[in-house]
Amino acid sequence: MKSKKKDSKFRIADAFLLIMMVLPIVFGMALNIIFTPESNGIEIAGPLVYFTIPLPIQSLPITEAQINSWLLIISVFFLCLYLTHGLSAKHPTKRQHVVEWGLEQVDKLVSDNMGEFFKDFSPFVAAIMVLSAFSSLMTLFGLYPPTSDLNVVGGWAVLVFILITYYKFKCGPAHYLKSFTEPVAFLTPLNVISEFATPVSMAFRHYGNILSGSVISVLVAAALQGLSAMIFGCLPGFLGQFPFLQIGIPAVLSVYFDIFSGLLQAFIFAMLTMLYIASGFPEEDYREKLKRKVTAK
């Protein structure tokens, strides 16, 4: 009897977490429907501006991309709570197996690509991967994907840049400055430029891929609409207006541009994050420095 009661409580908590997971997405869709201006035909535009916060120097616009990424963060938070709800060592549930498999995969990926020193990096890498993947998949709900806004992806790239610089600073500022003059001293300006090119190229790669996918989808949809109007336009009445060619064909493109490309870009962003951080860190010098400290004591 007692176990059954506990079971029903467990189920209620589960349902609550699931509802909280779906609610932000529904809220985002409702906001999108409310704020979308009436338009005639297909057009390519940036994110909608929901409202602006007036500030002394320049007013701060709060766009669809920002709101959507916050809603996504809430949703993913409840997804994590749902997946880790009711963990037990003796009777693992199905979702616990899924979570453990995912964790093992991420741990393996991180330790394969970054080495033993960065073993604790897997939560960060997994967070970036999940956020990026789900952001790109938001197009499936008809929401504006935050990753096709340069500001969102640029923020992540700046975060990664700060981490890279932090790990380069581990051996002291002198070592950091000296690393620019390698292999030859007159290459210093090029090294400085390539240092700043890293976050720019990361941000542009992700943003450009997602944006180009949505632009091409819109163009193909418009072309198919025109084509079906041209071919079936002679049919009488309702049949002549109906865009037959728009059924199904855009969905095939969507499988590539929204699902495959989005997931691939998430994987690549996480991969590049790991590779840049691990390759920027002078591991041997750091170990020598630690050794010298120990011997000095």
Partner: protein, 96 residues
């Protein structure tokens, strides 16, 4: 005035089209990468997953130059005409 605006719009569109010539480079590069990956898988079928992962990574990195061109083309089509026309109108107003 209309002529100037027309020239601005036309040149922006031309520039966007010319920027996308850069798409040739990544196309050739990624084609090479995939060809080599196919060869490698043919030689060592058991290393398929590692080769595929590395190839996708390399393709994504090789795509970067093409995406720079794409970003510039998008800026030229969607942002530049409005800005340039605004600047033109302002200068015309100040000149009288």
């Amino acid at each position: 005035m209309e002529l100037a605006i027309g020239i601005i719009l036309g040149c922006c569109a031309l520039g966007a089209g010319m920027a996308m010539i850069a798409g040739i480079g990544p196309g050739i590069g990624e084609g090479n990468a995939v060809a080599k990956a196919c060869e490698a898988i043919g030689r060592q079928p058991e290393s398929r997953s590692a080769v595929t992962t590395t190839m996708l990574m390399g393709c994504a990195v090789a795509e970067t130059t093409g995406l720079y061109a794409l970003v510039i083309a998008i800026l030229l089509i969607f942002l530049a005409p409005g800005r340039l026309v605004n600047i033109l109108v302002e200068t015309m107003n100040t000149l009288g």
